[in-house]
Amino acid sequence: MSDASRNASDLREGIMATLSRQQVGAILARQGILIAFAVFMIAFTLANPKFLTPDNVLSVVRSSAIIGVMALGVTFVVISGNLDLSVGSMMSFSTIVVLDLHDKMGPLLAIPAMFAMTLCLGAFIGFLVGYLRLNSLIVTLGMLSAIHGLTLTYSGGQNMDIADKEGTWFSIFGQGTALGIPVPILIFVALAALLGLALAKTPFGRKVYAVGGNGTAATFSGIPRARTVFTCYLISAACVATAGLIQASRSLGSQNTVGQGLELEVLAAVILGGASLLGGSGTIFKTVIGVLILGFIQNGLLLVGLQFYVQFVVTWVIIILAVWLDIAAKRGKLWSPIA
């Protein structure tokens, strides 16, 4: 046995001695999603060498950017212990509004106007859930339907198109590139960095965790619960407006239902990132990983030649596995103790 290999086996034994099984479990629980992501990427790269080329990676991230931007905002809402099922129809709304206003008042005014309108919707939800303390699942379910109706009323049921598609600089947000990187990716990364910092390093971020972890305790500690939840919904609405901007700018025309069903994909990404629906846990970084996993699954399955729809079934299995293993590691048992 050579020295090197003996050293290696010594090292391994040493590690095994210091790390009991429980600690391994804890590490797996904390970093499980990253490990799964790595395994997944290696498997697909072996299956198809094209998978990890820069071109493919960029195109995957670019197409995930819209879901990703929305997931950032929903992360705040979920950590604060609430849900947001209205982001899909809110995204349709902002897409339709900005496309309509583009021709009426020019892009420079249309964008802030659209942001203001979307933030109003967010503020309304935030008021209902934060200040009136209504159940967020039902409120946002109602808003999903109501905003869809609002969008249809606004557009009269017609598709919205920009008249002069060639001559507008508006397309930069969805189709432009800077430094060789598509602008949607830059927006996604910048927003993730900004919101990640806000969540991890500011007093406000800590309040979000406190409110989601134990709302009553947070109230007794003098944390303004209502205002914190309200702000989370504003952040979510701002992210949705940004996603709508990217979507509108990418296609320069849109149906009324462009965001339909996205709320569930967004939620799936957030859950996959390990945020608990009970609130109080999750990070922006993990949500980004969740978004990327969903994006790469979709792309990887297509590259190995599977049907487009197989991704839904795979996503199903992965979501349940991810959450299951997460809570299994926390309780120290694989199977639930429910009798």
């Binding site: 039902i138 379910l141 109602g142 808003m143 339907s145 729809y309 079934v313 979501i319 009798a339």
Partner: protein, 333 residues
């Protein structure tokens, strides 16, 4: 009168009051706004309304049970679509070719079995893994829908069997077949929830799971049975609806879960479990269908229907909260 009895009576009666209000409003508004000469409260119209309530209504009864139990099922729309495809496609399978019209009950049984199995699968996962039902069924909603699309891509699956259509369009004692199914399911679920041990236990588990466990109730099997029941009812709803229409699009049933949950919540079932009944849900289903039909009657389009239903759902929540606060004033933090 006991304290809280008034608000309780107000709450349980609210949905029926709302229905009466809707009927009055649409009848009067219809006189001025409607394009047709027919009155809104026409007998034929009301019969049709009951028939059109059936697909959502049948599922809503199962959702009441699942929500009273403290869970939720987001996958019912996708289960509905899968069962519809099984129903229509199995009638064309060569192994059943010799059966003639006897293929109908076979196809029905197959569709119902598939729905029950999918529901039971959801329940088993919730039970054995301990993952929240919201997440499990959110996942299976994607997964089941994926299976639907894998079957036939974006193309519709069609098969018309005229015997079946005749059965579905038949009227017995004035009511359509679908209405009979809706009434039958409502009655059956009422019996299960109010008169059986399983129903009592479902309430107990939804109200306080810990206490139920301590009382020796086996939580898991009850949850699984309830998920199997809602899967069965989603399939039954598909059987009733597609027997008549004979063609299913892969997108059919999408957003059904939202309509169903709206109806159940309007009917007074608590989202956190432990309270609610199918009679209230029946009212919720009728109220929603009245709203859709009534708004159509006075010339509003689907966009208004969506807007109004969303806002009503929120209004009900606010109202419910106000009524609850009155009883809990001294407990307020």
């Amino acid at each position: 009168m006991q304290p809280g009895a008034l608000s309780k009576a107000l709450k349980s009666g609210a949905i029926w009051g709302f229905i009466v209000l809707e009927l009055a409003f649409f009848s009067i508004a219809g006189e001025f706004l409607s394009l047709s000469d027919k009155a809104f409260m026409d007998w034929e119209n009301m019969l049709l309304l009951l028939k059109q309530s059936a697909p959502i209504g049948i599922i809503a009864m199962g959702m009441t049970l699942v929500m009273v139990n403290g869970n939720i099922d987001l996958s019912v729309g996708a289960t509905f679509a899968i069962a519809a495809i099984v129903l229509l496609d199995s009638m064309t399978w060569p192994i059943f070719a010799g059966l003639g019209d006897w293929v109908i009950p076979v196809a029905w049984l197959l569709a119902l079995a598939v729905g029950t199995l999918l529901g039971a699968l959801n329940g088993l996962i919730v039970w054995k893994t301990g993952v929240d039902a919201f997440i499990v069924t959110l996942g299976s909603m994607l997964g089941f829908r994926g299976i639907v699309f894998m079957f036939n891509g974006e193309n519709p699956t069609s098969h018309l069997n005229w015997t079946l259509v005749d059965f579905a369009e038949a009227q017995f004692l004035g009511l359509h077949t679908a209405t009979w199914f809706l009434l039958g399911v409502t009655l059956a679920l009422w019996f299960v929830m109010a008169r059986t041990v399983h129903g009592r236990n479902a309430y107990a588990i939804g109200d306080n799971r810990e206490a139920a466990v301590n009382a020796g109730i086996r939580v898991g099997p009850h949850m699984m049975i309830n998920f199997a029941i809602i899967g069965f009812l989603a399939a039954l709803s598909a059987v009733v609806f597609y027997s008549e229409s004979g063609s299913v699009n892969p997108n059919d049933g999408q957003l059904y879960e939202l309509w169903v949950i709206t109806a159940v919540v309007l009917g007074g079932t608590k989202i956190t479990g432990g309270a609610g009944n199918v009679i209230g849900t029946f009212g919720g289903v009728i109220a929603i269908q009245l709203l859709r039909k009534g708004l159509g009657h006075i010339g509003a389009d689907t966009s208004t229907v969506n807007l109004v239903i969303g806002l009503i759902l929120i209004a009900v929540l606010i109202l419910d909260r106000q009524l609850n606060i009155k009883g809990k004033e001294e407990l307020k933090v």
